[in-house]
Structure formats: C-alpha cells, structure tokens
C-alpha cells in the first residue's frame, strides 16, 4: 500500500486552469434552492480517468453538488470548470457532448422500447435537423453490448425489473459517449447482485478512461469501487482522499454521527464499516 500522493484537501491550487489534467473542477462552489444554501463553498479537483464517490448523510448536499457539477444548477458563487472553461459559459449541447449525468429518478415514458430510450442518448450529437449516422448506430450498439442488453432491445422498458431498468438508463448515458460521467445514486433501490452489475460496469468505464463521479450511500461499496472519496456534511467537504484515508472511525463519526468499527475486507483489503451506535 503506497500512499505517496497527498491530495491536500482544502487548498485551492490554482483557480484558473486544470494543471494536473483534471477535466472537471469546482472552486468555492456555492449552490442552493430559493433561499436555502445547500452546498457551501466546495472545492474539488476530480481526477481524470478515476472514480470519485461522494458520500454523506441524507440532505448533506451530495445530489445538489452533482447537479451543480453538471450545470443543472446555476452556482450562487464560485465556479465549475470543464476542461478549463467555465461550464456555464459553454453551449448546453457542447457540455452534453463531454459530460453525461444520470439523475436519481429519471422519468420513464409510457411504452417506450429499450432501443428507443437508448437512442435518445445521442441527442446532444444531433443538430436542429436530426440525422441518424453510422457513428450514432455504433455508439448505441456499443452501449447495449457493454450493458449486456442487446437481446432486450425491442422490449418495452416498463416491463423490465428495477435492476434491469437501471442498466437501461446507464446504457442511455453510455450512448451519449462522454468522457465525464456523473451518476446520482446509481445503485439505490437495487439488490446486491444488480448493485455489483452497475459498479462493475462503472469500473470498466473507468479503466477505459472515463472520469466518473457518483453519489453512493453504501460506504463499503464506495470504498471498494472508488479511487477517491469525498465525504460531505452540511454542504461542506469534511474529508477527501483515498478510501483508506476517508473511511476511518473518526470521519464516519464526524460525517454520519455514528460510532463505527472499520475493518479491512479480507479479500480486497478495502475498509468496511460496521456501525455500532448513534452518537449525536
């Protein structure tokens, strides 16, 4: 275990560019709805071709942070930089060609077939007058192959199980072919088999060079599948670093208010959290 890199949690290195090849970065980001501030001054460099998991208690601003990073929410302060450009200044379609985002609960249209749904992921690559090209076809085919859904292409999505539906949504964002992918709780409501399905897929995406940021609830899964963890509480980043640095009894208590035992997974060596009792 060579822990040589020191991620320097709260020191904004240089706010203008992306020196270490970070494609997506937030600097002193403040986000909120109406009168409420939800994310209060978050600075993050999301390392390229790595998986970052954002963890924290309910309502700590994880999903809001993700929406802000995906420019679905206009910042009240601070900036989000995509490839060095202020994300809000880029054309919407241009952002959508580089950055994909899967919300927690997208709306499933009645009666839509799997193939039709996945094809909609190609939308950002089309102009005002849509034409379907070989590139589109290849992207859709590849997305379906990666998610192992080719045989179900003609099936109505509302007849599928929850676990399969989640893979369909993933196939849709894969068809978008972006190098940055933001996933909001991609495994919630899934049984463990389907959770592994999704997270294994995320791992292969990472191996192919995709920068993944996902919000996860399960600390064990986050520690096992993410290269980098960001722990949030009350709209601020409490701890940031490798799973071993972040998943410690101290951080778990500070973030979740829970006293816990942290042991090493006998097989992978990654930290596993055994919650003991609540300490408020």
């Amino acid at each position: 275990m060579t822990v040589t890199e020191t991620p320097a949690p709260s020191a904004p290195p240089n706010p203008t560019g992306a020196p270490d090849g970070s494609r997506l970065a937030a600097h002193d980001l403040r986000l909120g709805y109406d009168g409420r501030v939800v994310v209060d001054g978050v600075t993050l460099e999301l390392s390229t071709a790595r998986t970052t998991a954002v963890v924290g208690p309910n309502g700590c601003g994880k999903s809001t942070l993700l929406r802000g990073l995906g420019r679905l929410l206009r910042p009240r302060g601070g900036t989000v930089l995509l490839d060095g450009d202020e994300i809000g200044s880029l054309p919407t379609r241009e952002v959508a060609r580089r950055l994909g985002l899967l919300p927690q609960q997208p709306v499933l249209p009645d009666g839509v077939t799997l193939l039709e749904l996945v094809e909609r992921g190609r939308h950002p690559h089309h102009g005002l007058f849509r034409t379907w090209t070989r590139v589109d076809e290849a992207a859709v085919a590849e997305a379906l192959e990666r998610t192992d859904l080719v045989e179900l292409a003609g099936v109505a999505v509302d007849s599928l199980s929850g676990g399969q539906r989640q893979r369909v949504w993933l196939a849709m964002v894969l068809a978008q072919q972006t190098s940055v992918l933001l996933l909001d709780e991609p495994t919630s409501f899934l049984d463990i088999a389907h959770q592994l399905d999704v997270l294994d897929l995320v791992r292969t995406l990472r191996d192919d060079g995709t920068t993944v940021v996902m919000v996860l609830h399960d600390l064990g899964m986050a520690a096992r599948y993410a290269d980098h963890l960001v722990a949030m509480r009350d709209g601020r980043v409490v701890a940031e670093g490798t799973p071993h640095e972040v998943v410690t009894p101290e951080v778990v208590e500070e973030v979740f208010g829970v006293s816990a035992l942290v042991v090493a997974d006998p097989e992978t060596g990654t930290p596993v959290v055994l919650p003991r009792r609540r300490v408020s």
């Binding site: 709805y33 929406r67 995906g70 679905l72 919407t92 379609r93 241009e94 952002v95 959508a96 060609r97 950055l99 994909g100 985002l101 899967l102 919300p103 609960q105 997208p106 709306v107 249209p109 009645d110 009666g111 839509v112 077939t113 799997l114 193939l115 039709e116 909609r120 992921g121 939308h123 950002p124 849509r130 076809e137 290849a138 859709v140 085919a141 590849e142 379906l144 192959e145 990666r146 998610t147 192992d148 080719v150 045989e151 179900l152 292409a153 003609g154 099936v155 109505a156 509302d158 007849s159 199980s161 929850g162 399969q164 978008q176 389907h194 592994l196 399905d197 294994d200 897929l201 292969t204």
Partner: protein, 363 residues
C-alpha cells in the same frame, strides 16, 4: 417475448467485446422493425381515412356532387348548383375542419408532452376558453370581424396562459396545480362567455353561438386564408420543436443533461401552442375534446414516442368526421361540431381509462 429472463448477477461484459458486431446490428435492426412497421401502417391508415372523410364531407352532403363534377369545378368550370354547394359550403367546411382539427390535435399533444400530464391540454387548461372569451368580447362589445377577432382571441389565450404558467413556479407538483387552476379558469371563462352572449343582440348571439361549443357553420374562404397563413408558419415550427419533446419526456434534469435548453423549449412550445389554439378558436370556437384526446389516441396508436404529427392527423380526422355527423345526423338541423366531439369524447375517454396498459407499478 415481452417478459425478460430473470437476470442473475451477470458478470461484467468482457472488455474485449468488439462494438457493433454484425449480430448486434442485426438484433437492433430486428428490434426497430416492429415499431417502424406499426408506425408506417398507422400513418397510411390515417391518411386513407383522412382523404376519404374529406371527400365524403365535401361531396356527399344533402346535395351530392359527383367526383367528376368536383374535379371540373375545381378546374374552374361552372356546374349549376354543384358549384355553389361545393365552393361556398361543403369544401370550405371540410378544409376548415382539417385545419382546425390539425391545430387542436397538434397543440394538445405538444402541451401534454411538454407538461408530462395527459390532462394538460389547452382545452382543459382554459387556453381555448381564454381565446373564446377574447373573441366574443371583440364580436359582441366591439362589433369587429376578421383579423381583429383573431387578435382578440390571441390576447385572451395569452392572458389565460400567463395565469396558468404563473402557477408553474417552484419545484414539484407544479403541473397538478396548473391543471387545477386551468380547470377553474376554464369554468370561469366559460361563464363569462355565456354572460356576454346574454347581453348581446339576437342577431349577434346567433353568430356568437360558435364560441359556446365550436361550430363550422359560418366558415368563409377569408377565414381559411387567414388560418392557412398562420399555419404555414406555426405548424412547421411546432413540428421542429417537437423533435426535442421525446428527450424532455425523460424529466427536466436528464433533458438538460442531454443538451436541451429546457426553459427555452418550454417557452417556445407554449408560445406556438397558444398561437395555434387562439387562431383556430377565433374562427371555429372551442371544439370540445379534440385537443385533449388527439394526443392520447396518437400515443395509443404508436406507443413510446410522442408524435405531434400523428396527433395532428388524428385531430383532423376527428373534426372532419364529427362535422359530417353534426351536419346530417339530425335532418333539417345543423348541430355545432363541438356538440358531436363532446358527445364522442366522453365515451372515448372512458374507453381509454379502462384499456390503460398496466404499467408503472412502482413510481
């Protein structure tokens, strides 16, 4: 076929799998074939129905015009009797029925998809009634005709839209609130129209009957020309914008993530819908249920992908057919077309509720 095999934990797909293998391409082609065939069949059937209904409406009235005569008349010849019936009565009515039906159908379907609520059609939300009230006000109080009536209807529809959309602020449940406000608005505006008609002279009230339920009894070529000019701009614009609606159907967040400017699209579609509804209502009044039912019927015929174009075709077919029934169902009496669409609408709505596909068990 439709029930998928229960999926156990599948291992991650082998990273070496080449993309776009021939077998995948073949499978995808097969998956597309079904929906594509169905769509082609539906469009073909609707087109045949559409052409035959227009012919029936134009030629087979109380006074029958033979097809040969009709061709001669349209070629510029004078056929005693037939010329007058075709050119002054049945043909303009058929053309207007097509235009109004297509406008109501397209506008209704677009609005329902835009707001993701099958109740959110312009006639339920009171846009049509706003247009109607504006038009009645112009006719009864100001005594104007023609273009000013269309403008007044537009003003009424815009006002109604502003009232409804002002309810859309905030997050969550916005469309439910819009529907409730819209229903109340529709009832209020309908009462307003009645009240204005009570105060009108008998002569005006006869004309203004159009605004109560929608009627094609007084259509002129001038009306058609005005509507055609607007349609030539509005319908292609709506179809162009409608290309983005399937993506918007996935939810605001996902649509934005896929590069749709959600607010801009909302505003654009709403403006076009308001203009379409107002221009049609200014001439034929609020023809009941057409905007409300065309979209769901179109979606039932072609599931999955919302199609504004097919809804327009459905609307045209419904209004032409309903107008024929309205004109000849009761001998000696010309019923307003809105009465027939209203009568047809209720059972169709009940049928659609009963045969609703059992889906979305968990939401």
């Amino acid at each position: 076929m439709s029930s998928a095999p229960p999926l156990a934990s599948t291992p991650a797909t082998p990273p070496t799998a080449p993309s776009g293998t021939p077998s995948t391409a073949a499978t995808l082609a097969r998956a597309r074939r079904g929906p594509r065939r169905r769509r082609t069949a539906v469009v073909a059937a609707l087109l045949v129905l559409f052409v035959s209904l227009v012919l029936v409406r134009a030629l087979l009235g109380d006074y029958r015009v033979s097809f040969v005569d009709a061709v001669r008349i349209l070629g510029g010849e004078q056929v005693p009797g037939a010329s007058f019936v075709l050119l002054e009565s049945t043909l303009p009515r058929a053309v207007m029925a097509v235009l109004a039906g297509a406008e109501f159908g397209a506008a209704g379907a677009a609005f329902q998809v835009l707001l993701r609520n099958p109740l959110a059609s312009p006639d339920v939300l009171g846009l049509t009634h706003g247009a109607s009230a504006g038009a009645v006000l112009a006719v009864v109080a100001l005594g104007v005709r023609g273009t000013p009536v269309t403008l007044a209807a537009l003003a009424g529809a815009v006002l109604a839209a502003v009232v409804i959309l002002s309810q859309a602020g905030g997050r969550g449940g916005a469309t439910d609130r819009m529907v409730l406000v819209g229903v109340a608005l529709a009832a209020g505006l309908s009462a307003l129209v009645h009240w204005m008609l009570l105060r009108a002279s008998i002569h005006q009230a006869q004309d203004a009957l159009v605004w109560l339920s929608g009627s094609l009894n007084t259509v002129t070529w001038a009306d058609i020309g005005r509507l055609l000019a607007l349609d030539a701009v509005l319908l292609p614009l709506l179809l162009l914008l409608a290309g983005r609606l399937p993506v918007l159907g996935l939810g605001d967040d996902l649509a934005a993530a896929l590069g749709v400017r959600v607010t801009g699209l909302r505003v654009g579609v709403t403006l076009v819908v308001v203009a379409l509804v107002a221009s049609a209502t200014a001439v034929v009044g609020p023809v009941a249920f057409v905007g409300f039912l065309s979209g769901p019927i179109a979606r039932r015929l072609v599931p999955g992908r919302p199609s504004v174009g097919i809804a327009a075709l459905v609307g045209a077919v419904v209004v032409v057919a309903a107008d024929h029934v309205a004109a000849y169902a009761v001998p000696g009496t010309a019923l307003p077309v809105g009465l027939v669409t209203g009568l047809l609408g209720a059972p169709v709505l009940l049928w659609m509720l009963r045969s609703r596909p059992a889906s979305q068990e968990d939401r």
